[in-house]
């Protein structure tokens, strides 16, 4: 990443700037004091509200902590990996893991392809109304998922929903989206792609700025058509951007929660319950230790998926 090299060079320049002034110990001590003073509020809040919970969560996942143990955190029993083995043999958790995989494996490519197609069209295809289109496509991203889910629950209604009405215009008999276990997940994925492709589009648009037009012209003179130029010039140069979009989309989608919470309550027949939602449900039942272990499973999955993407998209550049 460019940030690490950036940090090293800055460190070097800092040292270079500090050393020739000589007698730097007092000045540098004053500087360190100022730096830590500036960092203090962040560090305190960070330790209490992020670092501690991350560690506590790990500890909790090895215990049988329940809601009633809330005020006596040291009275709980350590039960080793039991919560984890319980999760892997829990049919609902397994179903939730499968549903989450479905959501990511179908939803992510759909979202990213849409984002890339729209970004390329806006960047090269058209010359007018570019910023108006960009603004419109980005709008769903900034709105509350809960509000959007409430609206989409109506749009996806079987009888009088807008989506099935539109499908009816072209002669398609729309399914009972949220009532049919086979169509409930596609319904949620459709909504997620609609809401999220704007983020990827903005990032791809920024990435496309870095693709030199001269390369395209040269290839065009050599007789390469539009698709060939996209495939062999644009796409390879977009690799770092692609990596970023894939990683952030995957991290978001692996935690999807509000969509089933509002639209289907995980149903019908557990067809849309997600890992995050099941974790929240177990937390609601007071099974804190169990919920903590499932949240760590999600964390580990996110870490593995992120590492894999870095591997796959970083190599052979």
């Amino acid at each position: 990443m460019s940030t690490t090299t950036d940090a090293t060079t800055r460190e070097e320049t800092g040292r270079r700037a500090a050393s020739p002034r000589g007698g730097g110990t007092r000045a540098s001590r004053r500087q360190a004091l100022a730096a830590w003073t500036l960092a203090l509020p962040f560090c305190l809040l960070f330790l209490v509200f992020t670092a501690w919970p991350v560690l506590q969560s790990l500890f909790m996942s090895f215990t049988d902590t329940r809601a009633r143990d809330l005020r006596t955190p040291f009275a709980v029993d350590i039960i080793g990996l039991k919560n984890y083995t319980r999760a892997f043999s829990d049919p609902t958790f397994r179903r939730a893991a499968l549903n989450t995989a479905y959501f990511v494996v179908v939803g992510m490519p759909l979202t990213i392809l849409l984002a890339l197609a729209v970004a390329v069209a806006l960047d090269r295809g058209i010359t007018r109304f570019r910023s108006a289109f960009r603004l419109g496509f980005y709008t769903p991203v900034i709105t509350s998922i809960v509000a959007v889910a409430v609206v989409w629950r109506f749009l996806l209604q079987h009888e009088f929903g807008l989506i099935n009405t539109v499908l009816g215009w072209v002669g398609i008999n729309g399914p009972n989206w949220l009532g049919d276990p086979h169509w409930s997940m596609p319904g949620l994925i459709l909504m997620a792609a609609w809401r999220n492709f704007g983020t990827g589009m903005i990032i791809f648009l920024a990435g496309l700025q870095g693709v030199p037009w001269a390369l395209h012209e040269a290839a065009a003179i050599d007789g390469a058509n539009g698709w060939q130029r996209f495939r062999h010039i644009t796409l390879p140069l977009l690799r770092p951007t692609m990596l970023f979009v894939c990683v952030t989309t995957a991290i978001g989608y692996l935690q999807f929660f509000e969509e089933p919470f509002v639209m289907t309550n995980g149903g019908p027949l557990s067809s849309t319950i997600s890992m995050s939602m099941y974790t929240y449900q177990q937390f609601g039942f007071g099974n804190y230790g169990y919920a903590a272990s499932m949240s760590y499973i999600i964390f580990v999955v996110i870490a593995i998926v992120t590492a894999l993407q870095f591997r796959l998209l970083r190599e052979n550049t």
């Binding site: 004053r30 360190a32 004091l33 920024a206």
Partner: protein, 275 residues
Amino acid sequence: MTGTRRLSNWWLYALLTLVLVAVIAPFVWMVLGSFKTQGELLQSPPTWLPHKATLDNYTQLFSRLNFRQYFFNSTVVAVAVTAGNLLFCSMVGYALAMLEFPGRRALFLVVMATLLVPGVVTFVPLFVLVTNLGLTNTLPGLILPFLVSPFGVFLMRQFISGLPRDLLDAGRVDGAGELRIFARIFLPLCGPALATLGILTFLASWNNFLWPLVVAQQENKFTLPVALALYAKGQNSTQYGLLLAGATVVVIPILAIFLVFQRRVIEGIATTGIK
């Protein structure tokens, strides 16, 4: 060449317009629907413009349901979280970008590492902590865990790294203290980054759902998304007009803010995305 290109691309404009309609239509339908009666919302095929526009849904929202309170809660939380992030993140961001101190590298690595920690990992122990502090069902309980964010620190550090270091040396030569150099020389130059961070933080806080859902267990501490989600699942789940009006109340303020500051938002996403 441009002439032929524009001509040959009419279908691309048509396609993009179609996508744009699909993206915007749900919002238009939401706003129009919030003025319809229950009977009209159940009609098949669905209508666009309300036959007999009514404000009933909104009056119910603010009189029978406590949406005024939820709106207040959401606003207080979002403003406090935004203020905290602007102040604290710029302070650390400056230290990381301009100052030389032991532990700087470690601090930066920790910030970067936490960018990857999902909210679902911390909410259970965080709830235990907040309960033990006696902060469940309080606005501070909603605010405190979000007062700083690794994203904010990263954004501010990146921006401040790009400012001229000469200003720092000039300030020192003039005998200004380190903190004064930050507050008087650098902070005023951070306007664009602060604007971007402020808007993105406000949007994220306004739309935040999981944590308020966990902490605000009494109705009078609900934020707007929590209230809307619980009404949508509870006994009002079939009062479509009411729910659409609720969704409109959640979406419209944020949409207005976004339209005013859209440049900053989009630039912010693009620059932090690339780095």
